[in-house]
Amino acid sequence: MKQSVYGLVLFILLALPPVAGLMESLMIAHMHMQMPLLVASGFLMAKYGQIRFPRFWERWNDNGVPGILLFAIIAVYWMLPRAMDEALAFPGMEAFKFVSLSLLCGMPLRDSWPKIGYAAKSAVIIGFTLLFAGMGLLYVIAPVQLCNNYVLLEQIALGWGFLTTAFCMVIFIIYHLFTRHSAYE
């Protein structure tokens, strides 16, 4: 339960106007810091939902697939340059960003991850790795501004952020493929 409180505190902290303003002033911090932290806040808060409404999760997300699909759709949506622009231009979209990334992305991720099988987990990790690499190349190579609110250089920095994240995920995949965990644990 403590975790849920920490999640809520993190969510409130991220929603404070000076904090949100600071993070959104840099494209890379907006997408690679604020958004993952919102997902993390939902991930932590999920414990409360799981304890308080067990039937709801059981009925709705019995095998974990609906939850992981919802997580993937919301996460991919917020990678669109246009979505970032809208969050900065319209307060309604900004509110939707906070609610969707925490409640519709972080929470279902927590509930689904232990329920889905090895193949689905691998698909999610490999899928997002490829997506990050693709997005990275797009942001690095694109010769024009993709977001109205951020200059080209910010976009390139974000692209490298995506590429380095994809690189870390590749290391993670290699580590998993080539390390026999059963030999150690």
């Binding site: 600071l22 840099l26 890379i28 810091m33 952020g161 994240t165 290391i171 150690y184």
Partner: protein, 547 residues
């Protein structure tokens, strides 16, 4: 087995050699320190064949790199050997190869410094250009450190295979964290040095100064925290045993190590907080990333004083602070690390000052900064290392700590503390008054402001004299314990976990994941400034020899 027989002879010889080099470095670095302080105060003029800046460069390299690196590796290899059932022959070989590579590297580094061809301070900021052989020496040093890091990884992985599902003994867990940081933390500086070598040879014309500085500090700050983590390992594991108590929560200890490993490298940018070329908001973000390190530090402070209080009350200490009197103040193995911990309170507070953009503008490049790292490294870290040496050297030399040397250690600790207190306070104050660091004696045309620093620079010399006495006593103690003390068995003091401790979750052992999270955080911290420095790069700087 190890508990009964003491150190394994071949492993002990390895650690002993590393410790010997560390203390030889203390002797050389200490003399350089006193020479600088006297020149800086205007009491003595360094000869033209060995200038103030050469002494400063030697002091930095010998103490900041040699003393700390050799002590850390010697200490943790002794810990790996003791807690994991002896070093594997190939691991021992790797550590010896690492030793040889580092020594070769230091020879390459020191010769240009002595020849006045690499008077670039230990930070070797371009566009100041050293002899290319200086940078080649640095490559050898890094290779030597990597060899030791990989040796430690092989040792730990083998132990885990043979002890499936068990938690790594806590001191080896600390060692793993330190070697992970040593390897990943030095990647940035390696890239930097590999760009500086062709530039120093004249094969490339210019260098991107901002990128070099950033790569340097991604390592420089990590190195600082490696020393800190090494000292902290003794605080958590050894000091409780010395006072007869038990360790603080195992879960918290492992969490602190993981948190320090993950959050360390991104903290480096605050060393450049008033550098140009970065937006204010990005700097603000980096302030947060740097200050995160404060969280595990606060946990450590709480944990340590909790252990002291619990033990003091067990020994009959009453009232709010009665437990304090029950501590073994006459035991140098406790006294030295205790003073080190206390010094970290103002040291850490000073660090927060320097991490903050506005406050840094007041103290940047002043003697304040020098005072700060003499308090953190020179006191918190080094006094802990001294405290460790009073049981580690006898342990690896199969000798015992005599009451006479213990007493000498207490006196030495007092000398060191008084010296550092006088020196660091004076440095902090004169820094606030504007005295610059890394500057030899000058009156600035008899300017009144410069004259106001004089009393403090004299106090720095007095402090340095105390330190020299303390250092000499420490060297004598190290020599005596290594070669002259009575033969016998010395225990490797490892405190037991607390009674009725909650089980430590197994995720703490998954170093692969910890490293991935660390790399992600490093990417978050460094991608934006590096892209900025490269995409908006200035024309680049040709080399300068300013001395």
């Amino acid at each position: 087995m190890n508990k009964l027989l003491g150190a394994q002879p071949k492993d002990a010889a390895l650690s002993r050699t590393y410790l010997f080099v560390a203390f030889a470095a203390l002797l050389l670095g200490g003399i350089m320190g006193l020479l600088q302080a006297t020149e800086r105060a205007g009491l003595f003029e360094m000869p033209s064949w060995f200038t103030y800046y050469q002494a400063l460069t030697t002091h930095g390299i010998v103490l900041v790199v040699v003393l700390t690196a050799f002590f850390t590796i010697g200490y943790f290899y002794a810990a790996l050997s003791h807690t994991l059932g002896g070093l594997l022959p190939k691991v021992r070989k790797m550590a010896w190869i690492g030793f040889a590579l580092k020594i070769i590297g230091f020879v390459f580094v020191v010769i240009p410094v002595v020849m006045n061809k690499a008077t670039v301070m230990y930070t070797f900021y371009p566009p100041m250009k050293a002899s290319p052989y200086f940078y080649i020496g640095l490559v050898f040093i890094v290779l030597g450190v990597w060899m030791c890091a990989f040796g430690a990884f092989v040792q730990v992985a083998t132990w885990r295979k043979n002890n499936r599902g068990q938690h790594l003994p806590i001191l080896s867990f600390f060692a793993t964290g330190v070697f992970v940081l040593l390897f990943f933390g030095s990647l940035g500086v390696t890239v930097e040095v590999l760009t500086l070598i062709p530039w120093a040879f004249g094969w490339t014309k210019t260098v991107n100064v901002m990128v070099s500085r950033t790569l340097f500090w991604s390592f420089g700050h990590t190195l600082v925290n490696i020393w800190y983590l090494t000292a902290v390992s003794a605080w958590y594991v050894v000091v409780p045993k010395v006072i007869g108590g038990r360790r603080f929560s195992d879960v918290l200890t492992r969490f602190v190590i993981i948190a320090l490993v993950i959050t360390n490298i991104p903290g480096g940018f605050h060393h450049q907080i008033i550098d140009p070329g970065m937006s204010q908001s990005l700097k603000f973000m980096h302030v947060f990333m740097s200050l995160v390190i404060g969280i595990p530090s606060m946990m450590t402070a709480y944990a340590m004083f909790s252990v002291f209080e619990r033990r003091g009350r067990e020994l009959g200490g009453k009232g709010l602070l009665g437990w304090f009197k029950k501590m073994p103040w006459g035991d140098v193995r406790f006294l030295a690390p205790f003073i080190a911990m206390v010094a970290f309170i103002p040291g850490g507070a000073g660090g927060i000052v320097q991490t903050t953009n506005q406050l840094n503008q007041v103290v940047h490049n002043t003697l304040w900064v020098v005072g700060h790292f003499h308090l953190t490294v020179g006191t918190s870290v080094i006094l802990t290392f001294f405290g460790i040496s009073y049981w580690l050297i006898p342990f690896v030399s199969k000798r015992v700590l005599t009451p006479r040397i213990n007493k000498l250690g207490v006196i030495q600790t007092i000398f060191w503390t008084i010296g550092m207190l006088i020196m660091t306070v004076s440095m902090h104050i004169s820094g606030l008054l504007g005295a610059p660091r890394r500057t030899s004696y000058t009156t600035y045309g008899d300017h009144a402001v410069a004259a106001s620093w004089d009393p403090y620079t004299i106090l720095v010399v007095i402090g340095a004299a105390f330190l020299l006495v303390g250092g000499a006593l420490q060297l004598y103690a190290a020599y005596y314990l290594m070669f002259r003390a009575p033969k016998g068995h010395t225990e490797f003091p490892l405190a037991e976990a607390e009674e009725n401790a909650s089980a430590t979750p197994y995720w703490t052992e998954r170093w692969g994941r910890t490293i991935i999270v660390m790399l992600l955080l490093v990417a978050m911290a460094y991608v934006a400034p590096l892209v900025n420095f490269i995409a908006n790069a200035p024309p680049g700087s040709p080399p300068f020899v300013t001395w």
